[in-house]
Amino acid sequence: MVPLYYYLIFSALLFSVGLAGALTRRNAILVLIGIELMLNAANLNFIAFWRYSPDPEALTGMMFVIFSIAVAAAEAAVGLALIIAIYRHYRTVDLTKVDSLKG
């Protein structure tokens, strides 16, 4: 079996890809996809730490991931509803054009 840090570095890579996408892309849906990737990387860290912990019977990491998946589902639903509302108001999902509050 592979040691723990393989999983940690893989998860760090996934997080960086999501962060780069969320920072560089201008489409609101792609920014949301980047945020989902970062959430998944964090969840993978939880599961890896749970599996490699000296006491896996406690199930703490697994419970955290189950609740985290539920929160992420709620977040995706609200986020996409917001994107649809923004599209209806501005007729675009380009984040650089949604700047009414910019001074």
Partner: protein
């Protein structure tokens, strides 16, 4: 076991990069589904079967499909040509810096070299026991949160019927109302 990890990791990373860099948004959403499947395979490899299948159900079954519907509803499948601008370079540099710091910390940590302990084999029965005893209050809270988020998503995505906004799209009230009902139904079906 190392070769399985390498294959799954390579597939997941390539599809994640594709999801963040492809030009057509529908292709991005499909690559995202592949990424989620790869992460579910990672969970299965780490002996977390319940979480792996929950990942497949929730992420591939619900979130990816929801994103595809959002792409179709906003008619934004073709994005403009990405330009190498200053903010683009800054974003890449920040992401690389974060990855560098994380890697340095991970490799210098003492628990990173830890080898795999004996297989824990937690059954779904144990997870259910814990959810009903120790974690019953968080479970109730998450149920409340999901209900509130679902209702909130429907209300946000619905047209406002009074036309109080100055968006100029609610001039004709009757079709807009019918459309609002249709959109609300669609959103509700998507979420449930």
């Amino acid at each position: 076991m190392g070769i399985t990890f390498a294959i799954i990791a390579a597939l997941t990373l390539v599809s994640a990069i594709a999801a963040m860099s492809l030009r057509n948004l529908v292709h991005c959403a499909l690559s995202l589904a592949v990424t989620f499947a790869g992460i579910a395979a990672m969970y299965l490899q780490l002996d977390a079967q319940f979480v792996g299948f929950a990942q497949i159900l929730v992420y591939i079954g619900a979130v990816a499909i929801l994103i595809v519907f959002a792409i179709l509803l906003t008619r934004s499948s073709e994005t403009p040509q990405p330009v190498i601008s200053r903010s683009w370079i800054m974003g890449i540099v920040i992401a690389l810096a974060v990855f560098g710091v994380l890697t340095k910390v991970i490799l210098s940590s003492s628990i990173a070299q830890r080898e795999l302990p004996a297989k824990p084999a937690p059954t779904v029965r144990q997870i259910g026991d814990q959810l009903m005893t120790r974690y019953v209050l968080p479970l109730e809270a998450i149920g409340l949160l999901l209900t509130a988020a679902t209702i909130g998503a429907v209300i946000i995505a619905m047209h406002d019927k009074k036309g109080r906004g100055d968006g100029g799209q609610n001039v004709n009230s009757t079709p807009s109302r019918a459309e609002a009902h249709q959109h609300a139904d669609e959103t509700h079906n998507l979420i449930t």
